[in-house]
Amino acid sequence: MEVLLQQLVNGLSLGSIYALVALGYTMVYGIIKLINFAHCDIYMIGAYLGYFCMTSLGLSFFPSLLIAMAGSMVLGVLIEKIAYKPLRNAARISLLITAIGMSLFLEYGTMFFVSPKVRTYPALSGFMTKSFHLGNVLITMQQIVILATTVVLMLALQYIVRYTRSGKAMRAVALDKDAAQLMGIDVDRTISITFAIGSALAGAAGVLVGVYYNTINPLMGATPGLKAFVAAVFGGIGLIPGAMLGGYFIGIVEVLVAGYGNSMYRDAVVFAILILILILKPAGLLGKNVGEKV
């Protein structure tokens, strides 16, 4: 029982990171129907920004987190303006290939500028090193910070999407781009805002993963990116609560498979669950099946 609880605590931390990345995937997909492959590299660059803030600038955790989020936000919007916007009316597959090209560009560009070597996040100091025992379950301060940061960011996101004008515009554009435009919504600006928010969340996830696992490298985004995308599909792509649910589910499943089964199979189990969900409920767990119009 204690082992299970411990695994759940670990799963929640990992799931928080997946959920943050998945939110960016799901928001972008919801609004322009693009699987944004470059998203996982924004997460990687967020991790690097946080790393340089902590080492070169000697900042503590929270300022680094904020700077990394701001940097990722700018990068996300730039990518959208340069690479995706000119293809808004092209075939979707060309857009997808552009996203793949952008992803490779970021990965290998980072490798060129900061070298491909693995870097270690600086040791944390002060209150971040504390840990607690609840019975035999160990909860580290890092895990609490990860969970708390994620919850705060998700609440902020919910607030933006539900109660602000930009959020309303985002929902309208996701529902029907043309109609939204006719109602006077600036579609280009709304899409940029979506990329900005999604990228900031990914940057935050990057810093959190650096703090949690300590090591970062230029290709660190690929596998978590794929899993975060799976999480988004699992919950119902395009749906913000779906991405959160999917992220935590995938994180917990992965930790449980690694803990009780064979850790070599944990990726296979994640993908098998994905295929099952897709076959049984193609629109995802929270998604509604929409009938096809002829």
Binding site: L87, S94, L104, Y108, L278
Partner: protein
């Protein structure tokens, strides 16, 4: 496309065969450039077969590397225990058949899904195949299989590549091939015209898997060494890039872009630090300036025919 276009295609294939053969016997092509040619041929097989699934039938697959790995491992295991020429052929066909079988098994449930959902399901499938190979004893886990007997020379390579191109071309021009294209154009309309869409989707999918298996077997039997990480998600993406760059629904486009991309990669090998950065930048630039790919959905033959006025109207370039 009428049958009269078969002749130029055969001539082009023969010219390619004779050209490479002549360059090999005069020593213009060394071991390194021959490895480039092998990669080109394998990529041609992979790209044309994926084009059948994605370009012609309109089923967006991100799992082609998974089928390739099935062919590679089957051929490797067979030729390791039976390192003879019949063993090699058995390996190629067993690998391809196994890949096609897995293609049918995977395709039957997942091809009900549309668009991006299918892409994600095939992606998941190929990752599962990779993890299985990573954990099996017979495939030697992450270290992979090495010191495989090498059988592939230019003759066999050419035979399999040309056979793939010809078979796929004939399939697309046949009645089932037309049915596949109708599924791409409008699945509901095709269904209401009496086309069994599931049947043709699964047929195209398993045929694509078959040729991917052939390509994997050739790979294993030329490069001595295979490991699961060679067939990861990035490999599937590489193949898709070739297809989209050449033009979805254009076999000759896939052939040309497979050659072009490999030549670019070989040329970029002299700048190892920024090789991938340049490659990625080029990819984005090409997509920004020519989103429909090099040839769109036309074939090289059509371009010539149009030039000489045999084709009355220009085929409109479709979007998927």
């Amino acid at each position: 496309m009428k049958n009269r276009k078969l002749l130029p295609l055969l001539l082009a294939l023969l010219a390619a065969y004779a050209g490479v053969w002549a360059m090999m016997s005069t020593g213009v092509i060394n071991d390194y450039s021959f490895a480039v040619i092998v990669t080109i041929c394998i990529n041609i097989i992979l790209a044309t077969s994926l084009n059948l699934v994605t370009g012609f039938t309109g089923q967006f697959s991100l799992g082609h590397a998974g089928f390739m790995s099935i062919g590679a491992y089957t051929c490797a295991i067979i030729t390791k225990s039976n390192p003879t020429l019949p063993g090699f052929f058995l390996g190629v066909f067993a690998g391809a058949a196994l890949a096609a079988l897995v293609g049918i098994l995977v395709g039957l449930p997942t091809l009900r899904l549309r668009g991006d959902y299918l892409a994600i399901a095939t992606l998941g499938m190929s990752e599962i195949i990779r993890v299985i190979f990573l954990n099996l004893k017979i495939t030697n886990g992450a270290a992979g299989l090495s010191f495989l007997p090498q059988f592939v020379d230019w003759n066999y390579l050419f035979f399999f590549t040309a056979a793939t191109i010809l078979l796929l071309r004939n399939f697309i021009n046949s009645s089932p091939g037309r049915a596949c294209i109708s599924v791409r154009e409008d699945e509901i309309a095709a269904e209401s015209m009496g086309v069994n869409t599931t049947k043709y989707k699964v047929a195209a999918f398993s045929m694509g898997a078959f040729f991917a298996g052939v390509a994997g077997a050739l790979y294993a039997s030329y490069f001595y060494f295979i490991k699961p990480d060679l067939f990861n998600f990035n490999k599937s993406i590489d193949i898709l890039v070739i297809v989209v760059l050449g033009g979805m629904g254009s076999l000759s486009g896939s052939v040309i872009s497979a050659i072009l991309l490999q030549l670019i990669t070989a040329w970029l090998a002299s700048f190892p630090e920024i090789r991938m950065v340049l490659y990625a930048a080029m990819l984005v630039a090409i997509m920004l300036f020519r989103p429909q790919g090099l040839l769109g959905s036309t074939e090289v033959g059509d371009l010539f025919a149009r030039r000489f006025g045999r084709l009355g109207t220009r085929k409109s370039e479709r979007e998927v």
